[in-house]
């Protein structure tokens, strides 16, 4: 086991796959000698050279379009969109072209490509550089959507995404980049569509994603002092969604809380709540409660952003009140 930061784990995941498969190429803005604005791809340019690690202009449509054209003709490109907010400038490429072309051509075209992007708040960047947009991807048929919470998962799920034969949107929560954790030695490949149970409790099940996972875990520890024993599930992958694991944990405790960085309306937790209501209503002992960012653009000032995003304290308070 080696200890890596989340950003080092991203670079390690891409490097592992580029070394293994000569068809893996990596493009994006400032990803070459600069190593990415979040320094998540440092060393790739030096190791694999300017042809396989290639800087692009500030042209998000060209980045995703080029990755798509390359994917349908034999490459396995990894494309970086610097901030997930910029997906809005190339959403036609992502949602209309990448997501639908396999289906519309009845499988004549395969699109093995990964779109990596820095996502989410906590960095005081304001409403156009802090959005949590994984639910956008989840709403479009034809896209797989992954959002890891630890360095080991970042490396393993990114490797799995690159090997996957379908397009994957890979969300890297930017406040996690500096977080350190153990990463297995040697080749490390995880599996898309598998949630992870991080803590077993008997009173309630808290389901979280990406940066909300460590907050849910800290909240669960403190809830113990209040005699509330919580299970914590890291969803990891929204599409495919491991409903078997998630529903299994809800049934065991009879209560479901979701912790979502998305603004309130149509956050990913709403889908999980709906599935739980449909499929394990009789096992629920109380209402399903969603803990989300309010339905507002994320504000910049630290005090405002901290209150807007689900905090450890808000999770504890919400669970405590609801479990009374």
């Amino acid at each position: 086991m080696a200890e890596l930061s989340f950003r080092e784990a991203i670079a390690a995941g891409i490097a592992q796959e580029m070394a293994r498969d000569p068809m893996v190429y990596f493009i994006g803005e400032d990803v070459g000698a600069a190593g990415g604005v979040f320094k998540a791809t440092v060393g790739l340019f030096e190791r694999f050279g300017p042809e396989r690690v290639r800087d692009t202009p500030i042209s998000e449509q060209a980045i995703i379009g080029a990755a798509m054209g390359a994917a349908m003709t034999g490459l396995r490109p990894v494309a970086e969109i610097m901030f997930s907010d910029f997906l809005a400038t190339c959403w036609d490429m992502v949602a209309n072209q990448v997501a639908k072309t396999r289906y519309m051509t009845d499988g004549q075209v395969s699109l093995p490509l990964v779109i990596r992007t820095a996502n989410g708040g906590g960095t005081r960047f304001g409403a156009q550089h802090s959005q949590s947009l994984e639910n956008w991807g989840m709403s479009v048929p034809g896209l797989k959507v992954v959002a890891p919470s630890t360095p080991a998962d970042a490396m393993g799920l990114l490797a799995a995404a690159i090997r996957d034969p379908d397009p994957v949107l890979f969300f890297e929560q930017k406040s996690l980049y500096g977080v350190k954790g153990e990463v297995p030695d040697g080749e490390h490949v995880d599996r898309l569509g598998s949630a992870k149970v991080l803590r077993n409790g008997k009173d309630c099940t808290i389901v979280a994603l990406a940066a909300m996972v460590p907050r849910a875990l800290r909240a669960a520890e403190k809830l113990e002092d209040l005699d509330i024993d919580a299970t914590v599930v890291d969803v990891r992958s929204l599409v495919p969604l491991d409903t078997r694991t998630i529903l299994g944990e809800i049934v065991k405790t009879g209560r479901l809380f979701t912790v979502e960085e998305n603004p309130r309306l149509c956050g990913w937790g709403a889908e999980i709540a709906s599935i739980a209501a449909d499929e394990c209503f009789d096992d629920l002992d109380g209402p399903i409660v969603r803990i989300t960012t309010p339905h507002v653009p994320l504000p910049a000032a630290d005090v405002l952003e901290d209150v807007a995003m689900p905090s450890v304290e808000r999770i504890i308070e919400t669970v405590r009140k609801s479990m009374r």
């Binding site: 190429y25 042809e51 290639r54 692009t56 202009p57 042209s59 449509q61 060209a62 995703i64 379009g65 080029a66 990755a67 798509m68 054209g69 390359a70 994917a71 349908m72 003709t73 034999g74 490459l75 490109p77 036609d92 490429m93 209309n96 072209q97 072309t101 396999r102 289906y103 519309m104 051509t105 009845d106 499988g107 004549q108 075209v109 395969s110 093995p112 048929p141 034809g142 034969p165 379908d166 569509g193 599409v239 495919p240 969604l241 491991d242 409903t243 078997r244 599935i275």
Partner: protein
């Protein structure tokens, strides 16, 4: 600023190539006319965008391409797809929403695709396929396959961002891609000149990307073929991209819903006189090719379209179980376990 229409030397197009160009143009013309008749019978549902009058562009490029080169085209893409060798019956059946359609009913008129013939898709969002065609060219470049990507689009595309992003990327990466603007004078219902800062929407923009302006008669199959040969050859030899503006005219409206009443009668008459199929027929006869041989091509094209129509009409409706097929590479649509 204005760019002159070039007249590439086309005198030495050989006889078999000319016959092939003519045959393709007649087939595309007859297919589109049949598609129109089937609309009138209410057999083609949804929309459809015919390329009647624009056949010389499809034919000129298709004949000059290598079988493994890539074609990317728009929702006005029946001709470009068929020109690469796609099955006419499968295309017609797709228009009719039949199970024997090219895409089993999942794409429809605007998305005809036949990858095994290099027809990499018809794209229905204006501009989207220019970056994608550049991406296929990037792939060909790094795989050193020698393939060239050819991307057809309308004049309206020159005012959307993806056009400019794709051109810039193709030039800086020196990609083997040819961008062909089919300037049929109208974006949809509005004359392109009334919404564009320059007279020639593609050619006058070429210099912004360090490219030579290429403005040609898109209704002349010899000119189209010669331009295709030159631009594809340049791309294949590592000379990078080209941007071609081919002047043409659609004989009908933008889509089946459009009777095209906004076009002045004199303009329509002038362009109908320059009909690329009629013109090329006259040229073949003038060059000494016998009328019987030309008539034979006309007859065979009609027979081919008749057979395709019959096969398409005999197809059963698209199968309902197709709905949840081919979202993913495993052939299915599952998003959960």
């Amino acid at each position: 600023m204005s760019t002159n229409v070039e007249k590439p030397q086309a005198a030495d197009v050989d006889r078999p190539t000319r016959l092939r160009l003519y045959q393709l143009m007649v087939e595309l013309r007859d297919f589109e006319q049949r598609a129109y008749e089937l609309f009138l019978e209410n057999l083609v549902r949804g929309t459809s965008h015919l390329a009647l009058g624009q056949e010389a562009i499809s034919a000129g490029y298709a004949v000059a391409m290598r079988p493994d080169d890539y074609t990317f085209c728009t929702y006005r893409g029946h001709g470009h797809t068929l020109a690469r060798g796609a099955s006419m019956a499968a295309a017609m059946a797709e228009l009719l929403g039949r199970g024997n359609g090219m895409l089993h009913g999942k794409g429809g008129s605007m998305h005809l695709t036949d990858v095994k013939h290099g027809a990499m898709g018809s794209y229905a969002i204006v501009g989207a396929h220019l970056p994608i065609a550049a991406g296929a060219a990037w792939s060909a470049q790094v795989r050193k396959s020698g393939q060239v990507s050819v991307c057809f689009f309308g004049d309206g595309t020159t005012n959307i961002g993806a056009f400019h992003e794709a051109l810039n990327l193709a030039v800086i990466w020196k990609l083997p891609v040819v961008f062909v603007c089919e300037n049929n004078q109208y974006m949809e219902y509005t004359p392109i000149r009334s919404v564009t800062a320059v007279e020639h929407p593609a050619a006058d923009r070429a210099s912004a990307y360090g490219l030579q302006p290429i403005l040609i008669d898109g209704n002349d199959a010899d000119v189209m073929y010669e331009t295709a040969r030159q631009t594809i050859g340049k791309a294949r030899e590592g000379g990078g991209p080209s941007l071609v503006e081919a002047l043409t005219y659609r004989h009908g409206g933008h889509s089946r819903a459009d009777p095209a009443k906004y076009r002045p009668d004199a303009e329509v008459r002038e362009w109908l006189d320059r009909d690329p199929v009629k013109r090329y027929r006259e040229r073949l006869l003038a060059a000494g090719i016998g009328e019987a041989e030309v008539n034979e091509i006309d007859t065979r094209a009609q027979q081919k379209v008749d057979a395709a129509t019959q096969e398409a009409r005999q197809g059963a409706p698209a199968r309902v179980d197709e709905i949840e097929r081919q979202v993913w590479s495993d052939g299915g649509a599952a998003w959960r376990n």
